[in-house]
């Protein structure tokens, strides 16, 4: 347990909602609008935390536990996340497996809570989330396989430090391919375009937003904050892969904000994929990760 790690956790916990602000600002710039203030997400969370709440009579304690467990999961996962040269608060061989597992627990309860509301919309959201995450999981694991092979290490903090250390594997395109694969998983897991549209609230196309449809008050604040942190965690993984070996945490931080701009740009210029094409995108990401693995072996 070291002070810099604690500082980086604190930075993440404070700045994570800002990422949403940057994405939305980018989108409004593309659209020629002024857009919401950068700190909008903070205002929303603060407002929601001061409210009471309304529950559906159908729901049970699972619905109430969902946001709490989700937030606990991302907070623990955050303790496993390194930021560039700053090691994670807790680091051990196989920590990334635990991180993926914790994110899965979060999803598990989000989906159960959605089904608990007993509405067809939320059930649909849960079903789609289950489908896409089942297919995103292999891609994510294969990405980690490629990263750990390259770094010959099994803990996140080591992986990104040593990643570019040895020049023997120095073929430049491999990290780029990996970053693309991870970026696809990042977009899918965080419910961004082209997999899901975070803007629509009443379309049958949506996946993630619809599952939070029946929440209000502090619960919704928890959900917003947890998804901001989740975006931060997966985004930091992408940035860490791209910038591996760079000895400055500030660069990684700047990279995260730049990633937010890219997400905003992607969202402004692309349409959401047809639902049937999404699995193919995820399989493609897995194939890319596998490709890096095979090419690095050969």
């Amino acid at each position: 347990m070291s002070v810099p790690s604690l500082v980086h956790m604190a930075i993440a916990m404070i700045t994570a909602p800002l990422i949403f602000g940057i994405i939305n600002r980018t989108k409004s710039l593309f659209g020629g609008r002024e857009g919401p203030p950068l700190l909008q997400q903070y205002f929303d969370i603060a407002k929601l935390l001061q409210k009471g709440t309304v529950y559906s009579r159908t729901t049970s304690w699972v619905f109430r536990a969902g946001p709490v467990i989700g937030l606990a999961c991302v907070l623990i996962a955050l303790a496993l996340l390194p930021l560039g040269p700053l090691p994670a608060l807790c680091s051990f061989p196989g920590d990334f497996i635990v991180m993926i597992g914790l994110l899965a627990v979060m999803r598990f309860f989000t989906m159960l809570a959605a089904i608990d509301a007993g509405s067809s919309f939320e059930g649909m959201g849960a079903s789609r989330e289950a489908t896409f995450s089942a297919l995103a999981e292999p891609a994510l694991f294969l990405c980690f396989a490629a990263i750990s092979q390259k770094a010959a290490s099994l803990s996140l903090s080591d992986m990104f430090l040593r990643h570019s250390g040895d020049a023997t594997h120095g073929s430049a395109p491999a990290p780029a391919l990996l970053a693309v694969a991870l970026f696809v998983v990042f977009l899918a897991e965080n419910a961004r375009i082209p997999v899901d549209d975070p803007n629509t609230h009443l379309e049958l196309t949506m996946i993630h937003e619809v599952m939070a449809l029946d929440y209000g008050g502090p619960d919704l604040a928890f959900i917003f904050y947890a998804s901001a942190l989740k975006l931060w965690i997966l985004g930091a993984l992408v940035v860490n892969v791209v910038l591996s070996g760079i000895e400055s945490a500030w660069a990684v931080l700047a990279g995260l904000f730049f990633l937010a701009i890219i997400v905003g740009a992607v969202e402004s210029t692309m349409a959401r994929l047809k639902l049937l094409r999404v699995p193919q995108l995820l399989i493609g990401a897995g194939a890319l990760a596998m490709l890096t693995l095979i090419v690095a072996m050969g």
Partner: protein
Amino acid sequence: MSSWIELAVLFLILSNFALLGASRVTTLIQVAAGQGILLGLLPLLAHAKQGNLRLIAVALIAGLLKGVIFPVMLGRALREANIRREVEPFVGYSLSLILGVFALACSFWIASRLPATALFLSRKALPAAFSTILTGFFMIVARRKALTQVLGYLVLENGIYLFSISLGQKIPFAVELGVLLDVFVAVFVMGIAMFHINREFDHLDVGQLSALKD
């Protein structure tokens, strides 16, 4: 120089995946054209220093044929036949991608089992050639439209070409040129045939040709 070759080979492998995953026929033609141009460039990258005129000429011809002439011809056939995408292929796109990964892994395994030859381009050129050949075969087998199958034939030839240039001077370029000519004729003939089939039957679905078997 060698890192450029590596990059080109990697892009070739990626283009194979694109061929397996894309459904729009125009995209397929564009990817195949890109593959052809890359293949034309590869020998130039490898032999730029020697300045062997004959080699450069052959590479240029190959690139021109594979990257420009064939795609243009196919594009014209496409316009005439008026098909836009491959509907209901025999093997779905996601499964195709997964099989592509397997094929790539197998190619690397096969390449590692072959007797070590003087590696001319890069260690990955040989497996890339195998995977291109397999991709071509797969497209012929698993897709429905005659046009996609012609493309598969083209990709197959691309693989053979890459195989021959990655083995260096072992296979004379004359043989390769002969193959190229064959493909040229084949594409030509198939283009005409497709045009006629299309005019007679109003579609290009090979699956329905089996109705003719009796």
